[in-house]
Symmetry: C2
Subunit: 296 residues, 2 copies
């Protein structure tokens, strides 16, 4: 919009009821409202910067808002994982000011890691170089990639070692199968993607049909999209409710799916059964891996 047109419309809005045509009046009111809103954020770049700076200070004075921390957060990245499992929580973790978020790969060359939806993420640190003492160890899920990870000794040694020392042991989706294989959820309540939740007892865990399950220092999330609910809950636990809510607002996390079909119990039964069996090879392989590990 040109400045001239804005001035015209602002003028028209001030004229109000005597605007010659209703549409011109409505347009003008809308443009004027936008101008008023815009004015809150400065009329020069420098003013905008000062407003943002002051807002940061204002946030720091809000009660119970733990603005800064030094958490060390490791998120495991592995081939054929479901990247959304990781990217949802990563948004929340990266918003924890002062924290360090590591994307950890087995591969020391830090080559991009291809996920199971066809795109690759670049890891930032190798398992060998990852800090020993973590505030959060996070593992996401997948299908055949998760099975491969469960059957890889180096990867499992990493999870077992860092998990044993971590302040929070966490997963989303079938990532809890990996935690289980590493012996980290034995005796704990946990959840997983609905398709494999029944396997949790193989690891000595109690399967809970819930979106997010916290038991002591273990927090697990359900399938894929549950990563957002999981991360919000973990953030609230670590940085407090006010901080968690500020990140929820940044993410505009007020979900509203047009269908209620995201769980096995809400899905059409024929569809749910077929979808479940589509995962048969991964379910079978995870089941096998869990039994083999226990035999060793």
């Amino acid at each position: 919009m040109t400045n001239t047109r804005r001035q015209f419309l602002r003028g028209a809005a001030q004229l109000g009821a005597i605007a010659p045509f209703l549409t011109v009046g409505a347009l003008a009111q809308r443009a004027a409202a936008a101008d008023v809103e815009s004015a809150r954020f400065g009329s020069t770049a420098e003013e905008a910067y000062q407003i943002a700076y002051k807002a940061h200070e204002d946030l720091m004075t809000l009660p119970d808002l733990r603005m800064h921390g030094e958490e060390k957060i490791a998120m495991v990245v592995y081939p054929k994982m479901t990247m959304l499992d990781l990217v949802g929580p990563q948004f929340f973790f990266s918003a924890m000011m002062g924290s360090s978020v590591y994307l950890v790969s087995k591969d020391e060359t830090l080559s991009p890691v291809m996920g199971d939806t066809g795109f690759a993420i670049v890891p930032t640190i190798s398992m060998a170089d990852c800090p020993n003492d973590l505030d959060i160890l996070f593992v996401g899920g997948g299908t055949s990639g998760t099975v491969d990870f469960m059957n890889d000794q180096t990867s499992m040694d990493f999870v077992a070692d860092r998990g044993a020392r971590a302040r929070h042991i966490t997963s989303v989706c079938t990532g809890s199968m990996i935690l289980g294989q590493a012996g980290l959820i034995n005796g704990k309540k946990a959840t997983s993607h609905w398709a494999v939740r029944h396997l949790l007892p193989n690891f000595g865990a109690e399967a809970v049909d819930a979106r997010v399950v916290r038991d002591g220092n273990v927090m697990t999330g359900a399938g894929v999209s549950a990563g957002l609910d999981f991360a919000l809950a973990l953030l609230a636990q670590i940085r407090g409710e006010a901080y968690a809510k500020s990140v929820q607002l940044a993410a505009e996390y007020a979900p509203d799916p047009m269908f209620n079909a995201g769980t096995l119990s809400s899905a059409d039964p024929k569809m749910g059964d077929a979808m479940h069996k589509m995962y048969a090879t991964a379910i079978f392989a995870m089941d096998e891996a869990s039994r083999r590990q226990k035999r060793e």
Copy 2:
């Protein structure tokens, strides 16, 4: 769990009421239930594969499930964008069997692109090589990265060109500012991240405070996490309700955040105001860019 222990527990479950201790009985029942569930997915790898294969066929026979398509989908990847804006919808798009999902970068070397939460994604095609006629053009958002994109002629030419030909012109978060700058939402209803929604009239669009807004062939989503609701809606439009629901189930998308604080109206007013002003520099710069474009 060893096979021996499983056999013992299964035996104990069959004994039922005469199990000597309640805990053993409960454990055994749980293990037996897990075994029954496991048995549905085969007792050998080959059986599991056959079950999965048959399930795929079963899904194809469900009414109104458009299982395969050949959609060409381009998702723009640019520096300092919010990667979750893209990765949420990418999960849904990649689940459209037969479709091609391109991650499009301006940079012809296809170097990894660093997002605003500190990790990089590898693009798969350059703007120059991207197909001309797309079924879906998708643009995600960000703050300063989005401003840079709006002020880059090559990038905007790409969006304007592919958008003018695309069957569906789409965005999440401040991606709608980019669509606006490219002249693609003039006269349309649209939404955006709450922090900049008031700027939509600068592009001739009508700002709607909604999670997902569809107007003709333009579909826009609200901030960041709205990408999941957006993608579900678009998938339903393109592949039908049954297909969309099957992907919703795969994603276990039954969101349940522990707080209701994801919108400006539900947030604490002091927090909301400060958070809004934290974005002042980006808001000011997007406002400026939109006015400059209109003057040209």
